[in-house]
């Protein structure tokens, strides 16, 4: 199973959007998660993000990220906050006196705050997955090359090397399974493969660098700016990003959806909170409804 999230041009409105707007859209969703505090609105944003991922073919990547990284991180965040936080009045477990840590009382508020932080991290992570799988990295690097040629070279070699080395590791692993003596197994085998991949990565990076050299990368030429008319999808996603961000800020500032953790949990479940939980994801998902001109 590959652990890499690779861009692949698919038939979706987000794929049909220019890279800068697509990246802005993803960053906005992540930012909205950091602004919004109310769990129901956050849940709405999470669902909206999963639906957006599904609309542009990234559902499997998102599910894998959730399984491999997201959910373990969520659990870890909650655990750490419960153990570390001294805030909150609703104690659900008393662990007694722990030397320099003092009295260890586990509170519902600390667990809720850990959950809030964890879900926010989860949303930021999924927004990154969305950008990785739906925003053309070449177009992004191209823009970067115009501004920072040196950094772009390093980024180009690095982004190219990641899939190459992942395939090397897969190949080396297969080769070890084919050894006549059956090869080493478990951690020892993985260490051997890792050592070989790392050892070979220098040769690989030299090959890639040589290719970039002969393709004139070091010639100092900066790619010219390509004048492009804004497409309908560029406009839609840019507007959606701004509207989502505005709705998130409005939700936070208006007090329609309030959520206080410390010292006692207080969650407002009024019409305002429910409306925000519907409006924020709806604004984010709206541009996916226009499916004109999205085919490959």
């Amino acid at each position: 199973m590959s652990v890499l999230i690779a861009y692949r041009r698919r038939s979706s409105a987000l794929h049909a959007t220019r890279a800068s707007v697509g990246a802005l859209y993803g960053v906005t969703l992540g930012t909205a998660a950091l602004i919004v505090q109310h769990p129901v609105v956050l849940a709405g944003l999470l669902v909206g993000l999963l639906l957006a991922g599904s609309a542009c073919g990234a559902a499997r990547d998102m599910a894998r990220t959730l399984r491999v990284v997201g959910l373990p991180l969520l659990v870890l965040t909650v655990l750490v906050n419960v153990l570390v936080s001294r805030g909150g009045l609703t104690v659900f477990a008393r662990l007694g006196y722990f030397g320099p840590f003092g009295e260890m009382n586990l509170t519902v508020e600390a667990a809720a705050y850990g959950l809030l932080v964890g879900v926010r991290l989860l949303i930021v992570m999924l927004a990154a997955v969305l950008v990785s799988s739906a925003v053309d990295p070449d177009e992004m690097l191209r823009s970067l090359r115009r501004l920072y040629p040196g950094s772009a070279l390093a980024a180009t070699v690095a982004t190219r090397l990641v899939p190459v080395l992942a395939r090397d590791a897969q190949r080396l692993g297969d080769a070890q399974r084919c050894r006549g003596d059956g090869g080493a197994s478990g951690a020892r085998a993985r260490l051997g493969v890792l050592r070989a991949v790392v050892g070979g990565s220098l040769d690989r990076s030299l090959d890639v660098a040589a290719t970039l050299e002969v393709r004139g990368y070091g010639a100092g030429g900066r790619p010219a700016r390509i004048p492009r008319v804004l497409s309908r999808h560029d406009v839609h996603f840019a507007l959606a990003a701004m509207a989502t961000l505005a709705a998130a800020i409005a939700t936070r500032l208006s007090g329609l959806a309030t959520f206080e953790v410390y010292p006692l949990l207080h969650l407002s479940l009024g019409a305002g909170a429910l409306l925000s939980a519907l409006v924020v994801p709806a604004l984010a998902l709206a541009p996916f409804l226009d499916r004109r001109g999205i085919a490959l």
Partner: protein
């Protein structure tokens, strides 16, 4: 003005004992198609790297002499500046494609040259059309097959319309169809755009007819620089490993001059009345069958001694490999491999050869179907270096395995310092290193980058495995190697076995999956190798000896037919 001038070039890699190039002098004119030939480690790739400016700018080392590309001295201009004049395609397509999509890849070189966006867009479209890549433009490069990647790399090199194209074994990963297409595409671009081509290639029979000139390197020195006919004349006397199969066949019959290609060979034979009716004519007359349907008794050199029916070393029953959300790579493949049998697996890039071998070795499990193995299946994957995890040869395999691979003397060396052939033998020692010899030995493209001598050694070594009862199955694009090694050939297309018969039957009479000898003789007598062709022609000559046509410039010496 010459597009390339090399004057007294000598070069030694950093830390190397011997010079890779010594006193090389040559010039390439605009529109010339030059083939660079030579055995492994003769300095061919280093010459290309010197022309592209990577030597010395990228690799360092001791450099003497002068290389001028379209007026740019490589001592003063680096690879990036030279890249504007000379496009380069290396052997490994995996590391020479750097961008995420095909379109971005083709545009990269042009953008680096500072071309305006409209010119970039137009050049990308045109080069994609010229190389048949238009449908791939928006595909991710990591989804492409080796053959597709190689075409993308070539297109990227050609997109800026360089005056010179440098290619280092570009066909080594391509099937015979794609390889021929690539050579003729190069010829077309060379003729229509006046682009000079400097092509390094081991399989000379594939491209000799397209070349204007052949430069031969030996130990880093130019030992021959002549037109194809002149090269073949030189090769006949000086370096027989570089002779093409057609030239070898003619040499055995004493016919001169050696033919540059199939067409010339057939012309010579026709003038001597040594060509018999074509395969098509014979089939129409009902006298002969083609492909796997023949019931005729194969000649002695093609008879298989093994029988898959008795106790198969490997048997596949309707094996399918279906990718989730993707195509079926194998579609109901069924075949048996007899004990000690030597089988070759052929087919276009993406036909399913490597997948089939992985199933045979148990690296993959069929999504449908069943595989029976008579014992252990040892698999040698495409890159022998993948098997090496240690610093010393003796740590990689046991002493008996190293002895079988004729590597006992090299126990203290680092596997990475071995030559290509030695690395392959070490990898074979690693995969066969078990108490009991493997029942099946499977090899995936083992002849990549090998010269003819190394291929013959490999074929002989593999044939010796019959002593242990080991069946050998090899996936290869190399038809000449297949003809030399195989008793039986499986031809795969789109995940299905479309031909399964003796090598003589499968490799005769086709257009692409056939040897040069078979193409010249049009499949007569199922002769695949020059020696076999010479036997047939020798018999025809003895039946109807004819003098060469007046003014043909041909002559006949006493035939040296091997029987």
């Amino acid at each position: 003005m010459s597009v390339l001038e090399v004057e007294r070039l000598s070069y030694r890699y950093p830390g190397a004992g011997a010079a890779a190039l010594t006193d090389v002098t040559l010039a390439v004119e605009p529109g010339e198609f030059c083939l660079v030939a030579g055995l492994s480690a003769s300095g061919k790739s280093t010459l290309l790297r010197a022309v592209s400016g990577l030597v010395p700018h990228f690799h360092g080392g001791d450099f003497a002499g002068r290389v001028t590309v379209a007026g740019l001295d490589t001592r003063e201009h680096g690879p990036a500046a030279i890249g504007a004049m000379a496009g380069t395609v290396f052997q490994d397509p995996e590391t020479q494609v750097v961008m995420g999509t095909v379109r971005a890849e083709l545009a990269l070189g042009l953008e680096n040259l500072g071309r305006p966006p409209a010119a970039v867009a137009r050049a990308v479209e045109e080069v994609a059309l010229a190389l048949g890549l238009a449908s791939l433009l928006d595909r991710s490069t990591h989804e492409l097959s080796g053959g597709e990647l190689q075409r993308v790399a070539l297109a990227a090199a050609l997109a800026p319309r360089p005056r010179l194209v440098l290619l280092d074994e570009p066909t080594s990963q391509l099937d015979p169809v794609a390889g021929d297409e690539l050579i003729w595409l190069l010829r077309r671009l060379n003729q229509e755009w006046d682009t000079a081509v400097l092509l390094v290639e081991h399989r000379l029979e594939r491209c000799l007819a397209a070349a204007d000139r052949v430069i031969v390197l030996e130990g880093g020195r130019v030992v021959s620089d002549a037109d194809p006919a002149g090269f073949l004349g030189w090769a006949a006397g000086a370096a027989s490993p570089l002779q093409t199969p057609a030239a070898r066949m003619f040499a055995q019959l004493g016919i001169e001059p050696p033919p540059v290609g199939v067409r010339q060979a057939r012309g010579t034979l026709r003038r001597r009345d040594l060509l018999e009716p074509s395969l098509g004519e014979r089939m129409q007359a009902g006298g002969e069958h083609a492909g796997g349907s023949s019931r005729s008794r194969p000649p002695l050199w093609r008879r298989s001694k093994a029988s898959a029916k008795d106790s198969p070393a490997l048997r596949m029953h309707s094996v399918w490999h279906e990718l989730r959300d993707g195509p079926s790579i194998l579609r109901g493949v069924s075949f048996s491999l007899g004990v000690g049998e030597r089988v070759v697996l052929m087919g276009r890039n993406g036909a399913g050869k490597s997948t089939l071998l992985r199933h045979a070795a148990g690296l993959l499990a069929p999504t449908r179907g069943r595989i029976e193995r008579g014992g252990r299946v040892a698999l040698l994957l495409q890159n022998p270096g993948d098997y090496f995890l240690h610093e010393r040869v003796e740590e990689e395999a046991s002493a008996p395995a190293l002895e079988r691979a004729r590597l006992s003397e090299m126990g203290a060396r680092n596997p990475r310092d071995l030559s290509g052939g030695e690395r392959q033998r070490l990898a074979l020692a690693v995969v066969t290193d078990s108490e009991l010899p493997p029942t099946v030995l499977a090899l995936d493209e083992p002849t990549r980058g090998m010269d003819r001598g190394a291929k013959s050694s490999l074929a002989a070594w593999l044939s010796e495995r019959r002593v242990d009862g080991t069946a050998v199955i090899v996936a290869t694009h190399d038809v000449e190697f297949a003809a030399e090694f195989a008793e039986r050939v499986l031809l795969l297309a789109d995940g299905r076995v479309i031909a399964d018969s003796s090598a003589g039957e499968v490799l005769c009479g086709g257009w692409y999956f056939t040897t040069e000898t078979a193409r010249i003789l049009d499949g007569a007598g199922q002769a695949l190798l020059p020696e076999q062709g010479a036997v047939i022609l020798g018999e025809r000559m003895s039946r109807a000896p004819t003098a060469p046509g007046p003014g043909s410039g041909e002559s006949v010496k006493r035939p040296r037919v091997l029987r």
